[in-house]
């Protein structure tokens, strides 16, 4: 056990959040996670049916506004566009997954279960993208063309090399790329793109084929 999954530096996010949440009421309890009947959304409970298939929005309501969703689509497809091998992230439901993530009704505990913290980072990040698009090109991020989007993303695509003063948007971008990639590569299309060929029952396990051993210099 105790395999902690690799993820972005949560401490960095938390540090930033201290300022972000003071500045913006993004964790607004009144509107957050409420369903049509006005009741608070709930999780799946302590003993869920793990055999059935779940879809985003089924267990708790999705909460992106239309404007946020447009930005989410634009950024997902900037990170994972369609190419010869596989479709774009948004076309296989990744935006719904990210919406499910930021709408999850779980309270953070320390660095765990960061859904609501991520919500603040992402919605703040969307606002920053739109502000930056407006400042540079007079348009929100979703209305920019591919080249225009890149000029912004190039400044924030790596925390270590981000433009001075862009560290917080770079942290947001790292989180959003992780979620986009995680959402995408777990779909059937993304899994196929990586040429993962397991998860099927086999009569025997034969180890690496000769061509694999040759590839790594062991045969």
């Amino acid at each position: 056990m105790n395999a902690t999954p690799a993820r972005i530096d949560r401490r960095t996010v938390l540090k930033w959040l201290v300022t972000a949440t003071v500045a913006l009421p993004l964790l607004d309890r009144a509107s957050f996670g409420a369903d049509a009947g006005g009741r608070r959304a709930k999780g799946y409970g302590p003993d869920p049916d793990v055999l059935r298939t779940y879809r985003p929005g089924e267990l708790w309501p999705l909460t992106f506004t239309d404007a946020q969703r447009r930005t989410a689509v634009a950024l997902c497809d900037t990170i994972i566009p369609a190419d010869a091998e596989s479709p774009s992230a948004s076309s296989v439901g990744v935006v719904d997954f990210i919406d499910e993530w930021i709408s999850a009704p779980y309270e953070p505990q320390g660095e765990n279960f960061s859904y609501q913290l991520d919500r603040a980072v992402i919605l703040e990040g969307f606002e920053w993208l739109d502000g930056e698009g407006t400042k540079r090109f007079g348009k929100t991020f979703a209305d920019l063309d591919e080249v225009q989007r890149s000029t912004i993303c190039d400044d924030i695509c790596y925390v270590k090399t981000a433009r001075t003063g862009f560290e917080q948007p770079a942290t947001f971008f790292a989180l959003y790329r992780d979620l986009t990639a995680g959402g995408f590569y777990t779909t059937p299309e993304g899994t196929k793109d990586l040429k993962y060929v397991g998860n099927i029952p086999m009569a025997s396990f034969d180890g690496p084929p000769l061509e694999v051993l040759k590839h790594v210099g062991l045969a």
């Binding site: 900037t78 790596y158 084929p209």
Partner: protein, 600 residues
Amino acid sequence: MPLVSPTTLKDSYDVIVVGSGAGGGQAAYTLTLEGAKVLMLEAGVNYDPVTQTPMFQTPHQAPLRGSDTPEMQGGFFDATRGGGWKIKDEPYTTVSDKDGENFEWWRSRMLGGRTNHWGRYSFRNGPYDFKPYTRDGLGFDWPISYSDLAPYYDKVEMLIGVYGTNEGLENTPDSSPDCLLPPPKPRVSDLLIQKAAKAFGIPVVAGHRAVLTQRLDFANLPARLHPGNAFAQRIVREAMEARAACFWATDCGRGCSIKANYQSTTVHLPPALASGNLDILPNAMAREITLGRDGTANGVSFVDKTTGQDRQIKARVVVVAASAMESVRLLLNSRSGQFPQGLGNSSGLLGKYIMDTVGSGVRAQIPRLENVPPHNEDGASGGHMYAPWWLYKEQLAGKLGFARGYHIEFGGGRRMPELYSMAAKEWLTGGSYGKKFKEDARRYYGSFVGFNGRGEMIPNEGSYCELDPVVKDKWGIPALRFHWKFSEHETRQAAHMQKTFGEIVSAMGGRLRHPVKADGADAIQNGGSVIHEVGGAIMGADPAKSVTNKWSQTHDVKNVFLTDGAPFASNADKNPTLTIMALSWRAADRIASEMKKGNL
């Protein structure tokens, strides 16, 4: 499974077993097949892996791509229910939250306990591991030797099914003939690691894990396990026939609906239930072991979590296997005029000398594993190979600066893509996005390896648990408070792990995700985080210096036995579960024979 409800419970049993994991499952198995009437109390929910295991499900089918939540803390597909690092209504406390002094406690609240999700690594303690004080003057000797437990290791391996090989290595015992199943073939990353490690004299051999690489020999094993007991042989044969061999897919940590790996719920409990001698009561949180006028235990009182009502059931013998720390807690809370400091605590050592496994790891990327031709590497899910401790002689000669060893578990390969498979790769990609990111993902997927050191911690005075003076659980049962300290034997060992892994990665031409940590205090994982916590009721020959005797029986109360990790007098680098089961089988044999003689 045929569970009983609180209203249909009998008033008394031969034996009450508290806990349903490796120790409780094994005790119930052995006792019921010997004819004893047993009640098993489980503090968590009922659980049946045959119908509740997500075989082949992908993260895409799960909420949040399977990510962990307070309700499923091991992730949506992990075979943990109602458990995790924090359990609602069931707090524990620590005196320090500083790294190195904190204690992290993973608990489970389900039938089968933590056997449902564990790594299935199954190693025997060696001869040195039972006499560590004699060997180097530190810690405590056990009151038993390897030869006392060897027959039980054989039996457990035959029953649960363990793959591995006999290598004749120092303090790494061989099994008797036909005990082990053939190991799975190495993955390509195993072979690269083996080659690199060889240059440093580190042996990389077949791992030992409780996974059926072929079906059990159900025609012959039952007679070897239960000679002269036709009843047990028939039942065990049927149970073995119901287990399929691994079909090389689905993470073992989810559990296994085809019963190809060991979990108490697929291996120990089905034959115990088939005997007709076992009742299982879930949602039953033991409150205390009750004493009779003669000073022996006469039963267990527990809370029915579904109603909040208390109830007491009588028994001739009480077997406590609630997980080491939870068992200690139950004994500490069983206070009486005779035992004001807790049952079995006349030595004052109950809760003392708790140990975890020393853990430290690295992750690396191996360029030679980039763009490997696609092939199926799921295998037996966990490690196919491992490196046993190899520096016994140098260590004994005092050349290492720390007294006990560690083994290395490692893994890599083209596993099923998960939420974080392509996360945090900027250190390789430079922050790529767009089509370049997709190319990077194809290039780097499957090229990662991870190394985990698993080392022996020496018991010390600063690592113990006691009842918190204030904090109680939902039912008013006092909670545990933990104290934790590592000595330089552990922190130096952790630094040695880091240095070793760095050298292996370098020899593989790999790149470390983070630089190796030269400071062992920085490299070592928190106590409890490896989830190998044992001790607290250590066994010994002297009642003034130990809580239990060589039969895992409390010195103070002859009809109370602890069959989980609590009696461990040391915590060898070998993962504890196999030893828990061997000790439990041995204790249960003793209980059965003493009951037949009228001594219990």
